[in-house]
Symmetry: C2
Subunit: 278 residues, 2 copies
Amino acid sequence: MSPAPVLKDQERGFLIPIGGAEDKEADRRILSRFVELSGSENGDIVVIPTASRLDDTGPNYLGIFDGLGIGQVDYLPINSREDCDNPSFFDVLDRATGIFITGGNQLRLSTILGGTLIAQKIRRCNAAGIPIAGTSAGASIMSEHMIAGGDANSSPSEDGVNLAPGLGLTNAAIIDQHFTERHRLGRLLSGIAYNPFLLGIGIDEDTGAFIGPDNMLEVVGKGSVTIADAKGLTYSSMGHVGHGEPLSLLGLKLDILAEGCRYDLDKRQSFPPESTTE
Amino acid sequence: MSPAPVLKDQERGFLIPIGGAEDKEADRRILSRFVELSGSENGDIVVIPTASRLDDTGPNYLGIFDGLGIGQVDYLPINSREDCDNPSFFDVLDRATGIFITGGNQLRLSTILGGTLIAQKIRRCNAAGIPIAGTSAGASIMSEHMIAGGDANSSPSEDGVNLAPGLGLTNAAIIDQHFTERHRLGRLLSGIAYNPFLLGIGIDEDTGAFIGPDNMLEVVGKGSVTIADAKGLTYSSMGHVGHGEPLSLLGLKLDILAEGCRYDLDKRQSFPPESTTE
């Protein structure tokens, strides 16, 4: 599903996929910046803990965002498709100036939220300018084509990744998380090899990719963001390689971005940190 | 150390780094092709088992090459720098039409062989046209700048790889092995980021990179060969990144080659299998 259309005189909100395990106690750089984008003391963040099976995930984030000085924070205890019809949840989202999707299992998110009015509401919120951050599973779910699972491997393969329809907050990229920590380059490359129109964005733990309304991505955090681009492929054997056989992909581009680096998702172009004098 | 010079009217021999765990019992595709390049029933392969601490590594390969129809096969029981002075070993190498360097620890190879007349002899043999294959540690040792160790990680870092001087059979590339199996992209990328004149060649298990006298590499075997090229880097933070900090490398090129794909190491250009009609 393509992102919800941006209405006249509006601007899409930031999308902030986070690679999981973001710092919640020390400098909290990523979450602080999300709180700022959400309006700080005048803001109202809504947490969606649906990916997690743990009852305390929502309440925990209330405390975290409260500690970062947000004006108001709520969470929506959505644990079933039926919960998605609760009218009070729409009232809460109507007030939202920021939405945060927690980690857990992205297939829980897609199976519970997929096709519901809540999913539609979240998509429209972002199109209307509301920033949406998501960590781990909450990062994956943002993609139109979501990585649901796959090999822990640095090499791609014919069946190296399982894709499922995500929330479609972006259709420019597939997003993977815990990227370096869980050896996920192979499944990201598998995904972009399936259809090179997609960029692959692999985000390390405690690292956020702040994607602005202009589709410019900026890296914040302790790890790196790896962007894989298959648009320039000169040859791919993905279309005819047999099961379990090695894959050929000639002409991949790889950019590894640490904090401060930026990437234009439309032009597929990387930029060093602005203060760099080299 | 640069490769030994090729004398007038001679042509350098094939270099065949193998990613380790090459098939020794079933189709033995890689070893068979090496035996052919070494002259088959008219050939004489010399095995250098020095990387291995196991006494049966040399004898085992005698049986393997014998079973593949080589005319003669010997091994040199070199276990110390003193052994490198044994004059009978030079006589054996004088007859060689192929040299095979076994796996083990590449630092054992470099510390025992480095700077000896045996090392010089091996280098001159290759310059005079004799093919040299090496598996695992025997593949790594071929590089002028040898990967001695490093992180098992898909992301590069400031201290992600330990380099040591190798045998210098090629100075075009650093070579890594057990590549996908041991998550070694990060250390390969670290190596080429140190000095982008180097290509990075990462070879999977049971996979060989047959590098001809024209520096054209062809892949044979069950896995893939990953070639990383940092020559087009538009930005690298390697020169100023702090210890343990994430690294930025913008503009890397990556080619993943399965069997039949080729790569021109001089022009840094990849080619699909020749039979491909796409």
